[in-house]
Point group: C2
Chain length 400, copies 2
Amino acid sequence: MGAIKGNALVGQSGGPTCVINQSLVGVIEEAHRSDAIENLYGALHGVQGILNEDLIDLLKETPKTLKRVARTPSAALGSVRKKVTKNECMRIFEIFQKHNIRYFYYIGGNDSAESANIVNEIAREENFELRVFHIPKTIDNDLLITDHCPGYGSAARFVALAFMGDNFDNRSLKGIKINVVMGRHAGFLTAASRAARRDPEDAPHLIYVPERIFCKEQFLNDVQTVMNKYGRAVISVAEGLHDAEGNPIFSTGETDSHGNVQLSGSGALGDYLSQLVKDNLGKKLRIRSDTFGYLQRSFPGCVSEVDAAEAHMAGRDAVRFSKFDDLDGSIIFKRVGNGKDYEVLTEIVPLKELAKYTKSLDDKYINEAGNDINESYLDYLLPLMGELPHLGKLQEFGVI
Amino acid sequence: MGAIKGNALVGQSGGPTCVINQSLVGVIEEAHRSDAIENLYGALHGVQGILNEDLIDLLKETPKTLKRVARTPSAALGSVRKKVTKNECMRIFEIFQKHNIRYFYYIGGNDSAESANIVNEIAREENFELRVFHIPKTIDNDLLITDHCPGYGSAARFVALAFMGDNFDNRSLKGIKINVVMGRHAGFLTAASRAARRDPEDAPHLIYVPERIFCKEQFLNDVQTVMNKYGRAVISVAEGLHDAEGNPIFSTGETDSHGNVQLSGSGALGDYLSQLVKDNLGKKLRIRSDTFGYLQRSFPGCVSEVDAAEAHMAGRDAVRFSKFDDLDGSIIFKRVGNGKDYEVLTEIVPLKELAKYTKSLDDKYINEAGNDINESYLDYLLPLMGELPHLGKLQEFGVI
């Protein structure tokens, strides 16, 4: 007995990435080729779109549109942050039944994997014939099991390029520069800044990830040490820096300009750290901070070609796996070659294995002092980002 | 009588751009070909490097190094923010005399043009034989006379791409997004965000430049109107927003988290505006802000090829003009064709004409309500940025 025949539905969920539409287009293109799938519907804004019956016909989209959409950052179907309840699942099955939807592809992070898992488990309980596939994406790169996540490579590329440029900016007008990178709990994206350092004097000179406790005294000592050595310091910090009790650095005992913490999601951590350095290391120091913000996940100018191809493959293979009888789950990447022989293959694992929990940067990648990322991380990271530009410095052939 | 023979010196000054090294390499490459110039020295950190005799030999740099340096953002020689005094000029002439320097190329903005002008005028008073050339650069695009400034096109490209991506991000997870763009007095860079809008529903929905007085009440009305229309709003604001008295918005009557204004250069304006919207339009609104910061002038991933070529030409032509007897001044661009026939030629104008003063965005480019940039600005802007990516939306063929 082969796969069931019926219609399929795809949705996008969670924070967007630069290549989440590659996965969507991978699903659409392969659905065209599939014998099992008769029609493919898109739900606008994820599970919310299913509940609202905001469904569109995706097989009518032209190849030209799909080509452009694939290269367009963020979720073309719209996204949502929502966990489904049991009651909502029952409503979803009614809608699926009405439209004979037997394949459900959900592109998202671990929360989306959890929603997919809930739908899947309740479908089994209710004997509703459904194949559920979770297609991973997240710039945080924090999903379990998979070698890495679609979306991470492009965001990492943005962060690395930003630090490469900022290195030269800071080199030409010296001072202290603090750059805040996305990542509440996992330091993968902050660690990507490490790729900007080619010479020991290159930025970032210090890297702080949320896998370690952030100690203000050590931080100030570190900055002073770097300033003594290079006369400048570019510092990479994760937005999720926290103290020993797990409290975010920028709100532990500090209030922002309006007495509340709502502003802290924007420029507040960088501003706070700048002021901390100024207060302790010297009022006259030139100190600046930038918070990379949403550009990290949506900037269309520097997508990693590797990441784009892999995200497309993840979507395509979810549909390819659909032809196997009674198979569903999360798509994961397995790295089967590294360096010049870098290659990944997709596999499929049970939904519950990716749902709910996340992973952190492996301890072996963080240096002992907790203020840098080890060079070994580059073996893991570099193949994911595509080729970085070759920037240059003058050789400075002596004083005349 | 031809040009005097002697050595030449080049320096870089002011805030870096992505293509300021193109101008430097243009000077170096043309100096190799020049009959008048025997040796070319680079001053580290502009006039400060001359005063310190921190001079390096630039004709020894290899073509491979120069090729890489040209593509590298920021000032390879190091930069400085410094106006020279008469006494310092006298010291500069001593050093020039010692090294037989008869050509001085200074790459920078209007402050650098002023320094060059001071050196030039005092040289004439002192009968010190010297040709002074100012080579323009600034992401602010605010120099007089020239059609536009090297550095602007690449920064404008970054801003446009950032808004193009953010448009899709905001479209997929709706809310209010405020992006703060560099520009204290001139709105050129903020106006570049206008290039991201292809359809009327595209971001930015509102644009505020420092050429107009910023009125909080109008701003809040504008945001509410856009929210009513599209259910979302992406807003482009210049960091130099000010009230009717010329006071910056984020410090008029407001204090930052430490009671001083030093933090305001970072994320504070965006945070302040977010809070303003939240307080007035609704606590439950999803509001975010990003401050693009230094990435606008140093991001190596999205340089405008047009801008890069023109910056190279500006450096090259400064040296080419050196062969004419007793000629010096500022290089400017004259636009001699537009649209598909876009072309610029360099000319030279007296230093004092570019020095000291700056220009603003022409009134004709700002809409009557002062909350948008007119489409006519795109005729001026688009040729400077290089080709932008073609992003796409699903056609959304009806609800099933």
